[in-house]
Symmetry: C2
Subunit: 154 residues, 2 copies
């Protein structure tokens, strides 16, 4: 893999502790938060830093950890942290935006404390909300909206 | 920006022409598509290759091109191609998955022909579908679901 082709670097770090979930931007990036408080939800792109290994990046099929799943699935049919470019995508509800300090607090994240953050994008319903999405049968018992997932504590 | 911190490379290229939209993976990555046909929609992470310039990457606020918007918005409150890490996120409906050839066809993409693709993730409703999303007033007249956006041809 030619690392020099595309250049990316963290814009900040996600922290998760008893106070909740917050994205702390490097101070230079804080002006990029202007107006984000007009949206209720964001996408966070972050780096699977604990899975940035040759083994994880070279794995192309994974066995889903959930009950009732069939055999292996391709990593592009999975949200597994094992993937060629270990970039994660999570949606979160905005609790507060502190543009002065460059801090965004969220209701939830599946990233671990200390995770490098690559980008923040506003959740735009016309782009991101799919009404008629079909999923494999093992999703049948899972939440079917973000809100339902949070209510269930998943 | 320290380019060596995080290493990414394209997994394939998005082509868009009179035949439609297709993601052509490098052959080595084709096994990663296993099982993707069980989902109806995907997220595509791609590279804003035409905006990978120091000016675009250094810009932290942009003026939205749409009518009725107020002054500048932070890039993290925007889907603008100007952003520190020029990674784009688009959702698309799957038309076909050809795992032998490593080709995924989609109903739509806002990426241009020849765009480098970084990742493909299945659209999972419990993670990605937000029922109660709030957006700024200039979204009021815009589509509020992916399906509505496609019907309007946007």
């Amino acid at each position: 893999m030619d690392c020099m082709k595309l250049c990316i670097a963290p814009i900040g770090v996600l922290h998760k502790d008893e106070q909740g979930v917050r994205v702390e931007l490097e101070p230079a990036y804080a002006p990029g938060l202007l107006g984000l408080e007009l949206y209720s939800h964001v996408h966070i792109l972050w780096w699977f830093n604990r899975r940035d290994t040759p083994e994880d990046r070279g794995r192309l099929q994974v066995r889903p950890p959930h009950r009732g799943t069939p055999g292996p699935m391709g990593v592009f049919a999975s949200r597994s942290p094992s993937r060629p470019n270990p970039i994660a995508l999570s949606t979160g509800r905005i609790l507060s935006v502190d543009r002065e300090r460059g801090v965004l607090t969220l209701d939830w994240s599946d990233a671990e404390d200390g995770t490098p953050v690559l980008d923040i994008k506003p959740y735009s319903t016309g782009l991101d909300r799919v009404t008629e999405a079909r999923e494999p049968y093992w999703h049948d018992e899972w939440p079917h909206t973000y809100e339902e997932a949070r209510q269930r504590g998943e």
